[in-house]
């Protein structure tokens, strides 16, 4: 089951560029939360701060606190321990091209030294089923490489890979922006199915997508969280003029 996320006074920098300014918000457990905003507004940086991927860039810096469940991820644990609890799906599908489909899904388990073959088989099947990919690949699990699939299938494979380690939170950084409409619809269905079991944070360029999948939506602009509310409120009666301008297409 998922856990909630409490963010307090989060600031982030790339070199001298202050990309996130005093972000405060609470992301509820077992719901989908969408983050929208124009390019460069800091929404991707924000999700990368939630699993400490931001700091893999040598010039990056973070202050403030992020509590995921009971853990302050910047005070109580190492980045490696944090990332084992939080799955991430990236903008461009990035399956491991030298591994079979099966090994791609099992890679998180293998990486952490999990050896039980029977359980691994079960986890691979369950994860692929959750990612709605099982029926398409079940016959060549170990024959085909992860890179031999189509773009949309690759992205669902990446989702299965993230789900296989049973994460408490699933972060998705524009998971459908590189995909065609059919694949996008499949990914959205998937988010809909998964959000009862996982806390999902999804960054998206596509406002309709946010409206379709998320209970809550946050609007970022120039590194600030302008508004964070229920998706319904954001899209029908936004409290801030800038949010209204953005969702009605006046800029961005």
């Amino acid at each position: 089951m998922g856990v909630g996320i409490q963010v307090d006074n989060l600031n982030a920098w790339y070199g001298s560029n202050h990309t996130l300014l005093d972000i405060n918000l609470h992301i509820p457990a077992n719901q989908a939360t969408a983050l929208i905003g124009p390019s460069g507004c800091g929404k991707s940086t924000f999700v990368r701060c939630l699993n400490r991927m931001h700091e893999t860039n040598p010039v990056a810096k973070v202050t403030g606190s992020v509590r995921i469940g009971e853990i302050d991820i910047y005070a109580d644990a190492s980045p490696v321990e944090i990332r084992r609890r939080i799955g991430m799906v990236f903008q461009r599908p990035n399956p491991f091209p030298t591994m079979s489909i099966y090994d791609n899904v099992a890679s998180g388990l293998k990486l952490n030294g999990f050896r039980n073959r029977r359980v691994t088989d079960e986890v691979v099947e369950r994860s692929l089923q959750q990612a709605a990919l099982w029926d398409e690949v079940k016959n060549d699990l170990k024959k085909k490489s992860g890179a031999s699939l189509s773009g949309g299938q690759q992205q669902r494979l990446c989702i299965a890979r993230a789900l296989a380690v049973d994460p408490e939170v699933l972060l998705m950084d524009e998971p459908a922006s590189a995909l065609d409409p059919v694949s996008t619809a499949k990914i959205e269905d998937l988010i809909f199915q998964l959000k009862s079991q996982y806390t999902i944070v999804i960054v998206t360029h596509n406002m309709q997508q946010a409206a379709r999948v998320a209970e809550r939506t946050g609007f970022f602009l120039s590194g600030k969280l302008v508004e964070f509310d229920s998706t319904h409120k954001i899209f029908t009666n936004p409290g801030d003029k800038r949010t209204e301008d953005y969702i009605t297409g006046r800029f961005g």
Binding site: R83, R84, P93, T98, S100, S145, A147, A162
Partner: protein, 341 residues
């Protein structure tokens, strides 16, 4: 009746006329003045075909020349030449096996030392080293490739060989003497010295290519592994080395090619004795070395023919080793394509 989406008959179409008194733009005029360039394109195509074919021609020429010039020994010894162990120019008895053995063993020693070192250097440079050190360090490793091999040979004689004799070999004999690979006599020069100097010479070839392949692994692969909760070493193993392995094997093949053919430095430290012994501290001989050493003193036709056939053997061994290496790459990567998206 034409349907609504049919394109109109091209014959009826007239080019859009410019309004009277208006010239086409300078760019349009320039582009119209160019022909189809078909001739240049065809010429380029044939030029490239010629370049590609010249490779085959050179290889074929070398092979025929080697076979023609070693007619005497081929006729006298046949295939036995490659398996004979005698090397007696005075009585006209020749066999290539000790030289083949020496070339293969010294190259193998070189790979055993150079491959882990080169991969380690590449990992350090691409994944761990601070940015300001990256340039100088890469430059230094590549500088090793620019040193002439005779200089390596001199350095080996005056520095490496005494070092091996006084400090390294005694330890090896003590620890691994039981294996039979490191036993008396300890001259310093010998198969091990040749292997060590070769390893230093092929290090830059392997490490610079390995570094290049590792750098070209997309950043998204590293992020994918990190996001699964990998430590740095696990990220390098699963995200980088695994994706780069075909390129790394390719760089090892290139390094091996250089080791097999290296002449000068090896000649200076291998000991130049055509023996086949298990002991790596004992002197040996290599194919390239025997040609370099004895070509000028090959007084009769049979002797000369034998040396040229050694060259033929080197040619064949190189081809076989390369083919085996490619087979290995093919076998390892058969299941999964090498494509990195």
């Amino acid at each position: 009746m034409p349907g609504p989406f049919d394109t109109p008959d091209p014959v009826k179409q007239t080019p859009p006329a410019l309004p009277p008194g208006q010239e086409p733009s300078a760019i349009r005029k320039f582009l119209l003045s160019r022909g189809s360039s078909a001739l240049a394109d065809r010429g380029f195509r044939w030029l490239m075909i010629g370049c590609a074919l010249s490779i085959f021609a050179i290889v074929a020429l070398i092979a025929t020349e080697l076979v023609m010039r070693s007619q005497l020994t081929i006729a006298k010894f046949g295939l036995k030449f490659f398996f004979g162990t005698a090397w007696d120019p005075v009585n006209g008895d020749f066999g290539a096996l000790p030289f083949i053995y020496g070339t293969l063993v010294s190259s193998a020693v070189a790979l055993v030392i150079a491959v882990p070192l080169a991969v380690g250097v590449s990992i350090f440079i691409t994944e761990m080293c601070p940015k300001f050190l990256r340039g100088p360090l890469s430059f230094l490793t590549e500088l090793l490739a620019a040193i002439p091999s005779v200089v390596y040979g001199l350095w080996a004689i005056f520095v490496l060989v005494p070092l091996l004799r006084e400090h390294v070999n005694p330890v090896l004999m003590k620890l691994f003497g039981w294996s039979g690979l490191f036993v008396e006599p300890n001259f310093g020069i010998g198969m091990l010295a040749a292997g060590v100097i070769l390893s230093i010479m092929i290090l830059p070839v392997i490490s610079s290519l390995t570094r290049e392949v590792m750098t070209s692994v997309p950043h998204s692969q590293r992020e994918a592994v990190l996001a699964l909760g990998a430590t740095r070493w696990e990220m390098i193993r699963m995200g980088v080395l695994r994706n780069a392995r075909i390129g790394i094997v390719g760089s090892i093949i290139l390094g091996l090619g250089r080791a097999l053919g290296e002449t000068m430095a090896v000649t200076m430290v291998i000991g130049n004795r055509p023996d086949i012994v298990k002991n790596l501290l004992a002197p040996g001989y290599s194919m390239a070395s025997v040609i370099a050493n004895e070509f000028s003193e090959a007084s009769d036709d049979m002797y000369l023919s034998a040396l040229i056939e050694i060259g033929l053997a080197l040619f064949i061994v190189t081809i076989i080793v390369n083919a085996l290496a490619r087979l290995l790459v093919w076998a390892v990567t058969r299941g999964a394509p090498a494509r990195v998206n």
